[in-house]
Every structure is written in structure tokens, then in C-alpha cells.
């Protein structure tokens, strides 16, 4: 069964350079790029208008931006390694003065994730450490897991906050219990660098993908690989689960975007509007029964898609 998603708008040349990161809440779509400002577009309005530009957020540009599930907090990390925490008041985002991360402990952090309530920030470092900070306690470092030292490229927190997963350049994928601080089991990794990891909304699966061009699904209760989704012809840079967990979205370096059915383990839609690399893909909030997603990358624009409603 294939599904159809129609282009429903775009923010053309939203940034003057490649867009490396997207983060979506029920109201906002953040984008981060090789320029110093973060852009905020509205996801409520079908035209996706730009509603805020946070200038001078990161001097050399920003590669990861994340939000919490509630949409109250955002975090971003710049190329120079600095982490910024943002909060929303009356639909305007600004530096969160109540939250901070100790800069010495966060040196060398590359990818970040926020817990659903926004209290905890997790990060994986270039030398393979996985750390957690409590943003409500002056950014105190409360966890430091050491792995084998391979560059940490991506990280995700499960929606219930119980598990952390990280992906690394040597192909390793780790999963940690935030309660015990232990690895419940070791996962058989990928053979090439991992570029994206993502927990399904219910926490049943962990998806991982990267240069091996395959998406691997792990069962989080056993650590077993339960599926291999193949079809991409280039490095997979980003993954995102739909709100219900029925679909997985992936974007690759050759500009292709794919939607996968978790039920049938098959690709149900492929988009190839651009040949320029896709750095980030994110599902949009569900409006009625229709689901949609946003993609961005070297085209410097954000593209929005909505499911075609049968009629």
C-alpha cells in the first residue's frame, strides 16, 4: 500500500546556508543552519509563516536544535560547542535564564535531546560520553556514561524518559536505562557510522540508521534487531516517528525522503524533489486525521508535506 503526501508549502531560502536541524512542536518549527540565527516558523498556519528569527544565537552556526514534547523548551548546540536553552512566553522564544548547562562538563558535546517535560538535557560527546543534565538544578550533571570512545553522532530519549540511546561513528548503538544508569543489553550495531537514532512514541522500538543506508529496528524490550528497512541509496542522515508510531520518516544525503510502514515493514512513499542532501526530517503535529512532515537540508529551504486525503 502506498501513501501519498502532497507538497503543502515551503519556506524558501529560510536560511542563507545549509539547514542542519529541524525541531517541531504543536505550534512551532525551529530550524538551525550554518548561519548564526535560529528561525521559528508557525505550524498552526497552513502557510507556515516565519514568526520569529532568533539572531546571533550561535556565532558559527548551529547543527542540532531540539524541543521537548510539551513544546515549552528548546535547546540548540552551535559548531563552536556552546549549548543554549530557550523557553517560550506568549509565543515568543527567548534565552531561558532559569536553565543552564555547565560549560566545562559539556565540552565536546555534539548531539543533544530534551526530555518530554524539558527538565533533562541529554548529550553525546565527540569522545563517546553520554551525559544528562538537570536543567532545573542549575544544569547539574547527573549522569555520565562512558562508551568505547567513538564520536557520538546522535542521541534520543524515550518519551517516558526511561531510556537513552546514542549512535556512534564506529557503528555502535547504545541504550541506557536512565534509572539504573546501566545498559540493559548491548545492541548489535551497524557496520558503518550511525547518523540517526529515534525511539518510537510508545518506546517499543528504537530505529537507527546511517552510512550503511539501512534502517535497523530494535525491540527495546529484548535488544533484538527485528527489522531491516532497505531502499535508500545514500547515507541516511535523519529519522522521525509519526505521532502514532505507525510510520517512520527518513531522509538521505542524495535528497530522498522516504516514509516506511512499521506494520508492513515497507516503504510507502518516496520523495525526490531535490538532489541536495537532506539533513533533517520531522513529522508535523496531526491536524484532524491528516499527517504531514517537514524536510530541510542543503537546499536551504524547509519543505512541508501533508497526506493526501482520499476523497
Amino acid at each position: 500500500m502506498s501513501k501519498q503526501y502532497l507538497s503543502c508549502g515551503s519556506a524558501d531560502n529560510a536560511h542563507p546556508t545549509d539547514i542542519y536541524g529541524l525541531a517541531v512542536t504543536d505550534k512551532f518549527c525551529f530550524s538551525a543552519s550554518g548561519s548564526s540565527s535560529l528561525k521559528v516558523h508557525s505550524t498552526l498556519d497552513p502557510e507556515f509563516p516565519l514568526i520569529q528569527s532568533i539572531d546571533d544565537a550561535h556565532k558559527l552556526g548551529c547543527h542540532h536544535v531540539v524541543t521537548n514534547l510539551r513544546g515549552s523548551r528548546a535547546a540548540s548546540i552551535g559548531f563552536a560547542g556552546e549549548i543554549a536553552i530557550w523557553s517560550c512566553h506568549d509565543n515568543v522564544w527567548s534565552k531561558d535564564r532559569t536553565a543552564s548547562v555547565n560549560p566545562t562538563g559539556s565540552a565536546g558535546i555534539w548531539a543533544i535531546a530534551l526530555s518530554a517535560d524539558g527538565q533533562y538535557l541529554a548529550g553525546v560527546s565527540q569522545d563517546g560520553h553520554v551525559k544528562v543534565w538537570d536543567l532545573n538544578a542549575n544544569g547539574e550533571e547527573i549522569r555520565d556514561y562512558e562508551t568505547k570512545g567513538s564520536f557520538g553522532t546522535c542521541i534520543d530519549l524515550s518519551a517516558d524518559g526511561r531510556f537513552l540511546a546514542s549512535g556512534h561513528e564506529n557503528g555502535s548503538v547504545y541504550i541506557f536505562s536512565t534509572e539504573t544508569g546501566r545498559m540493559p543489553f548491548s545492541l548489535s550495531g551497524l557496520v558503518k557510522p550511525v547518523r540517526a537514532v529515534a525511539f518510537s512514541p510508545g518506546g517499543k522500538f528504537l530505529a537507527a540508521a546511517g552510512d550503511s543506508k539501512v534502517i535497523v529496528l530494535y525491540d527495546t524490550s529484548s535488544g533484538e534487531q527485528v527489522a531491516n528497512l532497505s531502499g535508500h541509496a545514500a547515507w541516511i542522515m535523519s529519522l522521525s516517528w509519526s505521532n502514532t508510531g505507525e510510520y517512520l520518516l527518513s531522509g538521505s544525503f542524495d535528497g530522498k525522503v522516504k516514509v516506511w510502514s512499521i506494520d508492513t515493514r515497507a516503504c510507502v512513499a518516496t520523495h525526490s524533489e531535490t538532489e541536495k542532501s537532506i539533513w533533517s526530517v520531522r513529522w508535523l503535529p496531526k491536524i484532524g486525521r491528516s499527517e504531514g512532515f517537514a524536510t530541510a537540508g542543503a537546499s536551504r529551504s524547509i519543505s512541508f508535506y501533508r497526506e493526501a486525503t482520499g476523497g
Binding site: P16, D18, S277
Partner: protein
């Protein structure tokens, strides 16, 4: 205002150097021979502030707005340090005077080893030589102080080198021809060639020279040049001379300049050294840069997406030094600023950070049709 330099014809800078030396030494002599004389030497030290650098809209070169700082060293001076500074400055200047007088080229190393005890370190000599060049407003080579020739050239051109009676054509096929000092190249004939290919790596240069790529290229006849990594001033001056020759041609017959460098931070910095100049010699860049260089590659994205049908297994992980170098390039050099002249270079640097990979030239050897086919395609396709 940076001084307007003339590296093309040797005469003006030569007389400027001689005048400066004669005047300075004469003033010192007069002071020394008078009973209460206080001999002194005035130097304009090169500006050290990096933030004042910008890309000049006229020359397309990396230039500096900061003028030098005037420093005067007097003998015996207020303390031992000043007396010593005066002495070493005089020693360096007399070594330069001697070299200019005899018409020989000496190295900074020669000067230092003439009396290591007084100079203390090589850096003192290097700094003074560059400061003298800056004070007089000439290239360092005009002081007859040079490093040993480093760059190599081969190709379809003729030149006449000072001191050699015959026009030298040996470099037509000889890949070992060293690039002479700009002042020593008396004549140059490049009317047969269409392109100049600058190579970062000597190994790649030798490979192409061995295959006579300068004759057999699909893009026509050309010249192969390597500066063996970061180019010295002579190699940059040679490229600039070709660029000036090119500017005097009709627009349809202009030379095309290409650079083939590694897909790593050093490769991109080397390409920019030819195109815009270096931070260390910001005051000389406007006479050494070649703004028309096309960057052939390597680009990591071409390899990752398989545009070149080269296996991307040959990509190499960035080292800590590479990542640090990229961040320094992005933060300090206006060439890669957000609104700077090299958005493509900036995007490539950021992408290296994102993917944590670099691509070295050896990758091309194994590609479809190898290096020659790759170059033919790039050089005939690009304008």
C-alpha cells in the same frame, strides 16, 4: 593604507630597497660620528590584529586595514633590551644590504646562523626581515632574502631567467623545474596555453607531469604548478604573474586557473592562499593573489553522493586538529565568513564538521578512468 607594491617589474622595488638601506645606514653613521650622537633605527612592525582583516573589493585579496606600528630603537637606548633590539635590527639590515649589493639571495637561516648567540632565536630574524619588507613596502623577496625555491612548474611556456644566457625551454617536459624568484624571471612567453592547474600535492603533480597532462589534456595546452602544500611567496608571485599576463589578453583568450586540493581543511586553506592570500602576509596579498581560481575539488559531498562514482569507503575521519583548524578558519578568516566571498568553501567546511570526514587526493587514482578523466571532465565542463 597598504603600500602599493609592484612585484611585476623588479626595478622600482629594487631601487626602493637600495634607497632605504642607504638612507638608514647613512643616518646611523652620521649619528655615530657625532660626539653626542644617538643612532636609531625606525621600523614599521606588521599589524598583529587579526580582526582588522577583510577582503578588498578591488583586488579581491585578503587585506589589512591596520597600518603598522612605528617602532624606533635607539642606541644605547633606555635599557639593555632596546640596545639589543637596535643591534639585531642593524645586523639583519646589514645582511640584507650585503645580499642586495652582491645580487645574491640569502636565507633567513643564513642570517640567524651568522651569529646565533646575539639573535637568540630564528623567530627574531624572521620577524625583522618581514618587518623591514613591510617598512619599505616591498615583497620579502625584494630584500634578496628568500627560502630555497620550493614550487615546481612544468608546461607549455618559455621563460628567461636572469643570469642564464638562453631562454630556458627545458621545463617543457622536465617536472623538476623550480619556480624562480619573480624578479629573476626576465621574460615569459605563455601565448600557447589555455589553462593553469595548481596542485596541492607534489605526488599528484609528478603523476600528471609524468603523463604529460599539460600537453594531452582535453582542455588544451597548459601549465602544471605545485607549491608542495602551502605555497611560498615565489610560487604565489608566479601564479600572479600568469594572472597578470592573462588580464592583458582578449577576454575570449583569458587563461583559466584551476586548483585541485585535498578535501580537508588544509586543502581549502591552500586554495584560499592562492586566491586571497595569507593572514601572515596580509600586506603583500594584493600583489600575490589570483582572484580567478576555480576550485575543482575535492569536495566531500561529491564523494559521499557518488557523483564521481568513487567508493566512499576511502573517506577518512577528521582528527581533533582538523576540527580545530576548521573552527579557527571559520572564526578568524573573512574568506569563509557568512557573507564572505567563498560561500561554497564555508558550506564545505561546515559539512566536514557535520559528517566528520575528509577526502584525500589518492581517492581519485582509483576512480572511473582515474585522475586524468576526472580532470578532463571538470576542466572542460567548468567555464
Amino acid at each position: 593604507m597598504s603600500p602599493t607594491l609592484d612585484s611585476i617589474s623588479a626595478a622600482p622595488s629594487e631601487s626602493r630597497v637600495k634607497d632605504y638601506i642607504a638612507n638608514t645606514l647613512a643616518t646611523v653613521l652620521i649619528e655615530v660620528s657625532s660626539p653626542d650622537g644617538r643612532p636609531s633605527i625606525k621600523i614599521k612592525a606588521r599589524p598583529k590584529k587579526v580582526s582588522a582583516q577583510f577582503i578588498s573589493p578591488e583586488s579581491g585579496a585578503l587585506e589589512t586595514q591596520a597600518s603598522g606600528v612605528d617602532i624606533t630603537y635607539t642606541w644605547p637606548g633606555k635599557d639593555f633590551y632596546e640596545a639589543w633590539r637596535f643591534t639585531v635590527a642593524m645586523r639583519v639590515l646589514s645582511a640584507i644590504a650585503d645580499a642586495v649589493d652582491k645580487g645574491v639571495v640569502i636565507s633567513k637561516r643564513d642570517i640567524y646562523y651568522s651569529d646565533p648567540a646575539i639573535f637568540g632565536s630564528q623567530r627574531i630574524v624572521d620577524g625583522l626581515v618581514d618587518d623591514f619588507a613591510f617598512t619599505i613596502g616591498v615583497n620579502r623577496s625584494a630584500l634578496n632574502v628568500g627560502a630555497a625555491a620550493k614550487g615546481l612548474v612544468t608546461g607549455c611556456f618559455h621563460w628567461k631567467i636572469r643570469g642564464q644566457t638562453m631562454a630556458d625551454d627545458a621545463h617543457f617536459l622536465n617536472p623538476d623545474t623550480l619556480i624562480s624568484r619573480s624578479q629573476d624571471i626576465q621574460e615569459m612567453e605563455v601565448s600557447d596555453i589555455d589553462w593553469v592547474l595548481i596542485l596541492e600535492k607534489e605526488a599528484v603533480y609528478r603523476r600528471l607531469a609524468g603523463m604529460r597532462y599539460h600537453i594531452r589534456s582535453a582542455a588544451g595546452l597548459g601549465i602544471l604548478v605545485t607549491g608542495k602544500g602551502y605555497p611560498d611567496l615565489n610560487t604565489r608571485a608566479f601564479i600572479r604573474r600568469l594572472y597578470d599576463e592573462s588580464k592583458s589578453r582578449q577576454s575570449t583568450r583569458r587563461l583559466r586557473f584551476y586548483a585541485l586540493v585535498d578535501g580537508d581543511p588544509d586543502g581549502i586553506a591552500i586554495m584560499a592562499t592562492y586566491k586571497y592570500g595569507s593572514l601572515a602576509y596580509a600586506h603583500e596579498n594584493s600583489t600575490l593573489n589570483c582572484p580567478e581560481i576555480h576550485w575543482l575539488g575535492l569536495r566531500t559531498s561529491d564523494i559521499v553522493t557518488g557523483v564521481d562514482r568513487i567508493g566512499n569507503d576511502s573517506l577518512v575521519t577528521l582528527t581533533k586538529r582538523d576540527r580545530g583548524k576548521i573552527l579557527a578558519m571559520l572564526s578568524n578568516n573573512p574568506v569563509w565568513a557568512l557573507n564572505g566571498p567563498e560561500p561554497e568553501g564555508r558550506a564545505e567546511l561546515l559539512q566536514m564538521l557535520m559528517l566528520n570526514v575528509k577526502a584525500e587526493m589518492q581517492i581519485l587514482y582509483d576512480g572511473d578512468g582515474g585522475l586524468v578523466r576526472w580532470l578532463d571532465r571538470r576542466m572542460t565542463y567548468l567555464p
